[in-house]
């Protein structure tokens, strides 16, 4: 299935509970597809979300810089629930 996708379809998932809302991913993303959620997670942090997966180029920069290893990067189109 994934083989059938266009090369430029990418998206990321962010583990809401692991995320500590540091905003580093947001700051390094070249496509500005990430932003911070308005709802705190259980620990009280406001986690990052990918608000525009369509722009994601799968460059991994966010994941390389996430100190909590809460970002996974995928090739393909997001399933709804994974993109939040």
């Amino acid at each position: 299935m994934s083989n059938m996708k266009k090369k430029k379809d990418f998206y990321v998932t962010i583990d809401e509970d692991l995320c500590k809302g540091c905003m580093i991913c947001v700051s390094v993303c070249p496509t500005e597809t990430l932003s911070m959620s308005k709802n705190p997670n259980k620990k009280g942090y406001y986690p990052a979300i990918q608000h525009a997966p369509v722009a994601c180029i799968g460059c991994n920069k966010c994941a390389l810089m996430c100190p909590e290893i809460s970002i996974r990067v995928f090739k393909g189109q997001p399933l709804h629930q994974e993109a939040i």
Partner: protein, 250 residues
């Protein structure tokens, strides 16, 4: 869809205890990836420092020891001498290695002990709440230099990788940073090479990694990355200071 970035198997699922934006987490990840990629999970023994990363052994799927503040290189010497076929590393903060533990670090290098040290230099004592480190910059405000480090009273920052590079038993010495994705990749490469140098038996290998401490620097995580780049990153020598090839060609 296909996952193109996933978490290394060298780490388990336990969430890190670090402060938001602390780059200890990044360094853990690349270290874990190196261990996985070299396929040495079953033969690697880590030695934890005393410092914020003093509890790091909770996260790695490998054997670990943790001793007293600054003594990790002595412990690693004991382990590696006991088990010469295993892979051994220490992970140490700048207080741990450059201050209380500098004798152990220098002598492990001098003896050419065949283990690897990851030196995480954030220019401050994170764990105890932000006191001055030997690597704090002149002018840097810390809990024990509230007016900024005054060179006339507290001297100058120690450039540990530079010192290490003068020591013959140190086979590999590199100085890297984790302030940008590109530098994170470079840092990983250096750590990987350090492990390879160990595995090939060349001698002591040492990687200094410049890291952040948003909490005690009193900055946001992203500001911290900038400060890291513009300050620690410009004061300290960066790059590969020494490697077995170079050593041989001397």
């Amino acid at each position: 869809m296909k996952q193109i970035f996933e978490k290394t198997k060298a780490l388990n699922d336990k969430p890190f205890h670090y402060c938001p934006g602390c780059t200890h987490g990044i360094i853990h990840r690349i270290l874990g990836e190196v261990i996985e990629e070299l396929d040495i999970l079953a033969k690697t023994i880590g030695v934890a420092p005393v410092g914020c990363s003093g509890f790091m052994e909770q996260y790695f799927n490998i054997d670990f020891q943790g001793g007293a503040h600054g003594r990790a290189p002595a412990i690693a010497t004991g382990i590696k001498r006991a088990l010469p076929d295993k892979v051994v590393f220490t992970y140490q903060g700048d207080g741990d290695l450059a201050s209380i533990g500098i004798a152990e670090a220098i002598h492990a290098a001098a003896r050419g002990e065949k283990f690897t040290t990851i030196f995480v230099n954030n220019g401050i004592y994170g764990m105890t709440g932000g006191q001055m480190a030997p690597t704090s910059l002149v002018g840097q405000k810390t809990a024990t230099s509230p007016m900024g480090r005054d060179a006339a009273l507290a001297g100058y920052p120690l450039d540990i990788p530079l010192i290490m590079s003068t020591i013959r038993g140190a086979a590999y010495v590199a100085s890297v940073s984790v302030d940008t994705p590109q530098n994170v990749l470079k840092a990983k490469k250096a750590i990987k090479k350090a492990f390879q140098v160990q595995i090939e038996g060349h001698g002591y290998s040492f990687v200094s990694v410049l890291s952040t401490c948003p909490t005690n620097w009193g900055m946001s995580p992203t500001e911290s990355l900038d400060w890291l780049r513009d300050n620690l990153g410009t004061y300290y020598t960066l790059g590969e200071l020494k490697s077995p090839e170079k050593t041989r060609s001397v």
